[in-house]
Symmetry: none
Subunit: 173 residues, 2 copies
DNA sequence: AACATATGAATGAATG
DNA sequence: CATTCATTCATATGTT
């Protein structure tokens, strides 16, 4: 935030200065104003329709697409949350040099997830006798029913070792 | 930025950057190529066996797990589906998608924008604000559907600078 | 210019 | 299959 006003508009039809470069959307001050207002009003994850409406309204101030609105809310929400965490009082929290915010993230939540193995961890030995014991049990057995829509394209037990990478295209469809 | 973690793509492609930090899978260019190729070939929801095989093949290009393949197809399908809003003639099956490889090597994908249309792009009607595309395309033809689903937003407001969009705040929350 | 920061854009991962 | 969260990449901009 801070310099929300990139360069302000020069009056009439400024639209997108930077946008003229095919690059990314550069919101105008008015657009940011409205978006921020909506956000502060409690809107966090607008639905598709909301996005459409907001985008339509904001197009009055310059070129804008629906995805811009979507991204804006996503980013704003995520960023607001991560900034909240970084707020340490007066030099407490032995944070590093007190600058890098990306240092340690929620990595643990992603790493430690020894969670339930989904179906993609198919075990070959399933051919044996029934050995389908849910190791964890008690918990929700994550059985992805999966469409199983394979049209019997067969299982050409292709050899994945010495193959050109493109030839497998013919194996699946 | 990071601590120079991204300096691994000097060579051909990012090697084992995914597992460097508990992070997520970072597909290589070849992997993306194969996956995209499979997708374009018609594969939408690979079965467990297919996932296994694809993963096995793709492991030749770098570290990969079955779940990565699974998620990749899920995401790709979901994000490609909403761009499926094209209501054009029966022809034009150009699902040109093979340009969305960033490969993490260079900033080549600045304007490429593989157009992984997501749901926020449902019925983007491409407001006629300022059609200023100096570069080649950078825009998806799919966006010009100009759905007239709402005459409310269908008006061509180009100079609605005086229109206070504050009232829409009450409409959403 | 280099550097730092803010932020738009993209996508992997996960959940319902 | 949809919706959302998390993380990263890329770039515009401001500061030194």
């Amino acid at each position: 935030m801070g310099e929300g006003e990139r360069a302000a508009e020069s009056g009439g039809f400024s639209a997108t200065r930077a946008g003229a470069k095919c690059g990314r959307w550069n919101p105008t001050a008015e657009q940011v104003k409205v978006l921020t207002d909506l956000f502060r009003s409690g809107l966090r994850t607008p639905s598709t329709d909301q996005i459409q409406m907001i985008s339509a309204h904001l197009s009055a101030f310059g070129k804008i697409e629906s995805k811009n609105v979507f991204y804006w809310f996503q980013n704003h929400k995520a960023r607001e949350r991560h900034h909240k965490k970084r707020r340490r009082g007066p030099r407490d929290e032995e944070d590093d040099d007190g600058d890098h915010q990306k240092a340690r993230s929620r990595c643990l939540a992603s790493c430690t997830k020894g969670k339930q193995d989904a179906f993609w961890q198919r075990q070959e030995r399933e051919t044996e006798t029934l050995e389908l014991f849910p190791l964890k049990s008690c918990s929700s057995d994550e059985e992805k029913v999966m469409s199983m829509r394979s049209e019997l394209w067969g299982r050409p037990f292709l050899d994945a070792a010495r193959d050109p990478p493109l030839d497998l295209r013919l194996s699946f469809i």
